[in-house]
Structures are given as C-alpha cells and as structure tokens.
Chain length 542, copies 2
Amino acid sequence: MAQRILILGGGFAGMFAAREVKKRLGQAAEVELINDQNYFVFQPLLPEVAGGSITAPHAVSPLRFLLRDVFVRQARVDSVDFERKIVTVFQGVQRRPTEIAYDHLIVAMGQTVDLSRTPGLTEHALTMKTLEDARRLRAHVIERLEHAEITQLPEVKREALTFCVVGAGFSGVETVGEMKELIDRSLKYYPNIDPSEVRVVVVEFAGRVLGELPEKLGAYAARKLEERGIEVMLNTGVASATGTRLITTTGQEIPTRTIVATIGNAPSRVVRELALEKAHGRIVVERTLQAKGRQDVWSLGDCALIPMKEGAAERGDFAPPTAQFAVREARTVAANIAAALQGRPLKPFQYVSQGALASLGARRGVAQVWGINISGLPAWLLWRAYYLSFLPGFGTRVRVLINWILDALSPRSVVQIRSYTPPAARYVHYRAGDRVFEAGNRADGFYTVISGAVELSYQDEATGGTVTTRIGPGGHFGERLILGQQRRSGTVRALEDSKVLVLDREEFLKIADGFPVVRDYFKAHMKEVYGIDWSPNSGQQG
Amino acid sequence: MAQRILILGGGFAGMFAAREVKKRLGQAAEVELINDQNYFVFQPLLPEVAGGSITAPHAVSPLRFLLRDVFVRQARVDSVDFERKIVTVFQGVQRRPTEIAYDHLIVAMGQTVDLSRTPGLTEHALTMKTLEDARRLRAHVIERLEHAEITQLPEVKREALTFCVVGAGFSGVETVGEMKELIDRSLKYYPNIDPSEVRVVVVEFAGRVLGELPEKLGAYAARKLEERGIEVMLNTGVASATGTRLITTTGQEIPTRTIVATIGNAPSRVVRELALEKAHGRIVVERTLQAKGRQDVWSLGDCALIPMKEGAAERGDFAPPTAQFAVREARTVAANIAAALQGRPLKPFQYVSQGALASLGARRGVAQVWGINISGLPAWLLWRAYYLSFLPGFGTRVRVLINWILDALSPRSVVQIRSYTPPAARYVHYRAGDRVFEAGNRADGFYTVISGAVELSYQDEATGGTVTTRIGPGGHFGERLILGQQRRSGTVRALEDSKVLVLDREEFLKIADGFPVVRDYFKAHMKEVYGIDWSPNSGQQG
C-alpha cells in the first residue's frame, strides 16, 4: 500500500518537499500538502508588491498548478498527535475538526512574527511576512500621501510623511528601497507635498545593514540608501511605539504614522505546541532532517534548526533561513524518506551557499555570487534575472516580466485599494500627553482604559467652566457620543503612558443593543450620568 | 475670483463632470472632486474581475491620473449645508470634521445597495457594486471549490457547489456568466469535483432576463446561459436567506453557500439626508440638471432623477442609470454651469441611447447598436472593443488588453487571496431546524439570541442523560468554550427562524477581559452556571 506522506506548509520548504517526494516515490506514495492559503508565495517579491512594481497576483502561484499529483488541502493545522500519527485541521468555513493520518510527516511551517516584546509595536506596526502584508503596506503608504496632500494641520502632515522601517536585513532593506521608490514616483500627483517634507528612515539594532552580506557590500548598500535620501540609523532599536510615534532605544522620538517591522521572527502557535524538542523557537532536527527522537517526523525550512556539522553550536553552524537552502533541504528530505522506506542509510544535509542578492530599489542592488562582490545596476539586473528564473511556472514568469517592463515604461499607479480592515476591538497605546479624543470629533468608537490613565475635560453647560475627570483602568468614554447621538463632546488626553481598548462604533452598537448585560448597564448609565433616555436601536440611525 | 466648483463622487458621472467643467472653465474655476476612494472604478469590468480574466488594479484608474488640474480629495462626505454653502467631510484617519466651501455643488454620488427588505439577505449575500465586492466574490467562489474538494460531508459539498445570483439585469447576467466561466476553467484542478455536481442559478423576479434589451436578445441571452448549464429561474424572487439556504418566493429551498445579490439599488446615507427634494430615492432635478429649487446645486448620474421630457412621469421618461448617459449628463452640467456663470440661458439635457451591450462570458455576448441586434462572438468582441476604447488612460488600456490576451492563452489562476474580513460582530439568520453549533466544534464565537429561539442539548456528565435547554431572545451561549477552554460542548439547533448576534472569539475575549461590566458578569456567570473560576486573560492562551 502507498505510504501517506503528509506535508504541513506550502512555502519554499513545503512546496519543494512535496514536489521532490512525489518525483522520487511516484505511485509508492500518496502525498498530501496542507496549507492555510491555496497559493505559494514567492517571498522575495513581496517588497516589489509593496512598492507596486508588480501586482499581488504576480507574486503568487496556486499550489494546485505547481503540484499536479499531490493532494492539496486548504486548511488550518490545529495539532499533531505523534502517537496516533494524526494531524487535526480545520477546513473551509467549518468549525468541525478533521483528522488526517500519516506515515511520514514533514513539518515546514516557517515562522511568524512576534513583536510583543516592544510595547505598542504589535498594535501599531505593519509587518512584511505575507502577501496581505505587502498589499496593505502599499495601500497604507498611498493613504498617507492622500492625507498629507489635503490636511491643513502641519503636525499631521509631518507624521503622515514620515515612514519608518525597523530592521535592515534583506527584508528591511528591500522594503525601505521599494517604499522610497513608490513615494518618489508618486509625488508628482501630489502637488501639495514638497519632496523635502518626506522622511524615510530605516532603524537597525546592529552596527551595519545586511548583516548576511560581506561588510563591504553592506557599506555600499547603506551609502546607496543614503544617497537616495533614506536615513539609516544604526545601533538603534525600538523602545516603544504609538499610532503617531516611534521611540528609539537611543531616546529619539520620531513622529510617524508608518512603522514597518521586519524583525521579530518567531515560531507559529502550532509549532510552539508540537510535542517535539525545540531550541531558539525552532524544531531540533538531526542532520538527516528527522526531528530529534522521531523516525517518521521531518522538518525543514525556517521552522527547523538544521545543523550543518556535527556538534553544531554557534549560529553559523546551522542552515540559514533562506529560500536557497530550503529548496536544497527539500531534496534531502525526499531522498531520506525514500531511503528510509527502502531500508537504505540516510544522508546528512549538506550545501554550500552560492551567494546572496539584495535589491535596493531604483535599479540598484548588491550581490555576492561565488565569492564575487557585485553592486549597482548589474547586481539589480542579476537579482531580477535570478528570481525570474526561480519563479515557478512559465506563465507566471511571463506575466511578471511583462509587468516589470510595463512598470519601467509607465507611471506607477497610486490606486489605493483597501484590503485591510482593522480589528473591531483593538488596543491603542498613547504616551503621556497624547491627544486621545478631541472635542468636535466624530464618534468612532467606545474606549475602555486598560492601563495608565487619561483625562476627560469638557465645558460645563450651566456654569461655562471647564470640568476635568480622571479616567483610570476599567473606566470608559465615548458612549455618550454614540448612544446619546450628540456631537458636543469633551477632549481626552493621556495623563500617563496608557493602553486603551477601542471598540468600533458599529460593533459597540450591536453589542449594546443585543447583549442584555451591556444593554442594561448603558440604560442605567446613560440616565444616571448624562440624563439621557437611551433605548436599544436608537443609535443605529446615526 | 475663480469660482469654486465642488463635485461629490468620482464615478462616471462625477469624474466626467470634473473633466468637462475644467475643460470649459479653465482658470475661471477652481474644481475640486471629493471621493472616498482615490480611484475611478470602471464598473462594466467588475464581473471580469470577479471572474478573474483581469486583476483588480486593471479595472480602476487613480483619479489623480485622470484629473490633472482638479484638486482631488480622498474623504468621506458627512453632510451639506446649502445655506452656508459648505460641505463637511472626514478625511484621512482623522476623526475631526473638515469644512469645504463651494460656489456651485455637483452631487454625483451614485447609489448603494440596500437588501434589508429581504430577511437574511443583508447578512448572507455578496454584492457587486464595488471593486472590493468583485475581488471578494472571486475569492469566495474559489474558497467554495477548495472546500468542496476536501470535505467528506455530502451536504456541505452540495451547498458549496451551488452558486446563486439574484437579479438578471446587466450586472446579474454578466456576473453569472463570468462566475460560471471561472468555475468551468478551474475544475480541472479539483479532481474530487465532478462537473455535474456544480449548480449555477440565476433568479429573476421579472418574466425575462436583460429587461433593458429587446425581447429577442433577452431570449437569446437566456438560451445561451442555459446551454452553458446555468439555470435561469424567471418570475422568482427571494423570500429569505441564511448562510446555507436561499428561499424563493415560489417556495423553493436552494441549499447554497453563495448568494450574489445584484438587486436593491438605494440612495446612500448622505443623499438620503440631503435637504433636497427626492423621489424614488433620487434627487429631483430640472431638465437643466439643477436640483429642484436650487440655482447652485446640480445632480447627475445614478443618484439623480433626470426627466428626459416635460411632464415626465413614467420610468421611461427619465434617464436610465448607465455610464453612457452619465457621460453625456456631465457635458450638460458643465455647459450649464458655464452658461449660468456667464448669464446665458441654460439648456435641457437631451440624449438618445446609441445602444446596449452585455457579455455572457465564454466569448458570447448580446448587443443592440443603432437599432441593430447582434449576438454571439461578434457581440462579445464588440463589448470588449467598446469598453477598451472607453477605458480612461492609454496605459490602462494596454494593460487590460495584454491581460485579456494572457487570459486567453493561459489557464486562469485559482489563487484565492483573502481581501474580506467579516465584521467581528455580525447577525446570522437560521431557519427552524438548522444546526447552529455542533458538539466538538471549535469555539469560534460568543452567541446572543436576538429573535427566535434555539435549543442547546448536551450530555450530563453525572447521569449520562441528555439535557436540553431552550435559549430565547437575550440568552447566550459559547462562553463556556471560550472562557472555560473546554472542547467538550453541546449541540445547538434553531427551534424557530432565528436571528443571532455572533461576536468573534478574539473580540469577545478582549471585551470580557477589558470592560468591567462584562468581566464581572462572566466571572459570576462562569462560577454560578458551570462552576468554573474564570479570571481575565485566562482565555488568551487558547
């Protein structure tokens, strides 16, 4: 009977593992790949999607196109039972768990982002991990330009035109380069924005950029970025973030409404919960790519800690988390599973990097190939040629090439398609002194103070004097505007660094109308505090 | 001093009005256009976006490209004060209102969709009005195919593979045609789906399709749709809808997870609240396109009721809501504003339709041009040529043409990019007998019954017997799974037709953790009803 080989994850590691296993084992294996998206993302092109030189569909390929004899299941992995050899998933819109059996399991789930160590960063930074992230960043940058073009407030304009990228590795450098190019090429459509008003900053904790490349290329890259007007802040980390500020570890306060975090790689929840040995958040594997202590579980790609020699201990002794390595690891996994099934000895993973490439945007790049350093236009052309050849599927390659040519010949579109809806209930961080809400503003939400304290001040209608109230943890505001349907309101400022839970107006109304505990509370509260008779559904017309 | 001409809306009517006014008045006018999106949508291409023959960015153009000497403001209109001649908007992420003065105001805000007259349709139907709608429909169809491919449940598969379009006007017919083509071309990637399992239905209240075209072409279109395996249900309306059912006015119950409503045109909130005379939800205008009783307010496009002759009374006496007419109306508005400023007499709007075109998908179309009926491939080619020539901007035209050619030569991508997040608090409709929640399901939300009644049944751990509880309006369930972190649960069924408010797990947790009233309620409730000691933040690890 055919062996069931189950692969978790459809990135470079998982997709190529599925291909290689099917190629080696043919009918001897039933190969299934589980991924929460039905497409493969060509990660190196994400900064280009963010910059708009190609559109989102061109950076992805359907897994079903790429894996013809593999069963592809779009589902979310919940857990793995290594004893029963069962993976539990949730598929479709179903809430019902589905169990899938395996003979051999390949874990290739990559990494996710965890920014929780820096206050405010989770809530206020964009990331660059998924296709949605890239699209969202592009829309976000254009939205800031639109806003800067029309606002009358100098401070808002300054915040809108300051763009910060955190981290200057491959992802950070390529993102900041593409973002700057998008802005530069768009400015001619925004007559009210002077190029000198735009500030683009990349913040890096280390003392240099592109730590993966030789010192000389890193220095070249930093110089090129600076020549293009990008501030490179080295030896600088992020201390905290709010919706309008980035505070660095060196004590600087950057007024900005755009923070892109390319740092904080972390294991996904599923990998974290797997009953496998882990180190530095990665699955510990043998050099054969078998998970430690398991004959039937394999792991590769970014989620695995792969020793490149016996007794590996230092960072350089392990395989780097790059596409180049993942593709080679996939071959080793396939060969070793075939060997295991046939009772032959397994081989350790071995590979020497052929080089590294980075695009800096604006037709400049840096590369080290077979030990040779290349920079400028040749490196940029090499970058594009390399990735074009690497793209899976002839059709995708043609489409990307045509779109690159069209991009070079025509202006870049500033269409801002919204693809991101902020969560209806979200935490917002404020620094002491920040405006939280201003008199006359529209009632956009219901606010509950989680930590810190804010001050509400309003004019007393009877006396004409100003009344101020301190609102601490558990206290709330915003309900009078929504339920009372009044535009007259007070101003709220943060007294301390504060964390506030904001619930969108529409969601708040549905809950206040529908959930009895909340309804009764606000009926009494509105009467008692504001003398307003509120009854359910009364706010929905507003 | 230059006159300030302010235009609300950036669709065909507003965009062309801005162009024409600027062309006529030049430096004599300061023209500003306000739109909530920064792009112009080429509406006739939306079904093609839904079908995937072109990507979303190709159906839109940035308003700033199209309107070089016009000030474009991306903002949401809040209200108009006709006495002070002021429009109030909210712009950017700001919650602060901004006031904009005008000398002449042109209202071209189109229409929105209102499905509230049919129970469940607002909550469970997709629409086809915006670019987001089109992208969402494409992703939705592919998600249904992915789910049908892997589910083990025959009923779920049947629901997933049944696709319903409501309304067989231009939008409905083109949408159902493109949707069928997308499905047909994708099926080869879904080996577990047999073509005979797919059911595509278009439901139309009238006795024929494409009521805007001659009887003969309507009959041809219906025949072509049926030949392609699309069921055309005439004289049939929608009585109600749930997440898995469409109930027709003829008493049929169609098990489906896809309902696309192309009906229910209605005025937007802003138009509804304008202090102007309205009829049938539209702004009543003179034949000069001036709003009734106003010299300085003009209206055109779908939001205006434009008489084509004196004493207009019947539907046919008014201008139809098509792009063809909107573009001509824009010329009349511009000419009349120029005439008004120069004290010349105004002219009434006059135009005779040149014809009408509809694409049926799969390279078939119907058209009536200068009184001549055309059908089949020639009509389809004419459709594409006409809209290609109509597309604003040479670059866009080239891109769309190239993408059409690529689409004809290569397989259609089944990439399913999620662009839609359902609201965190939403109403769900169930029919009596429907499963609401099944034992063993994942805890995805907190449920409050709004109307109707459901029955919760679970096994009593002590006795082993089944306990059933009726939950009526105001009652709730789901909290034990989320706050108690238990997978063991009961099954919930609707006893009557019911409306339930569902609050997503993550949002519910944030509110239960952060908002004291809710926190205190659940602390007591969990202890009292389930004997569980719940404390805030305990659920967040799950």
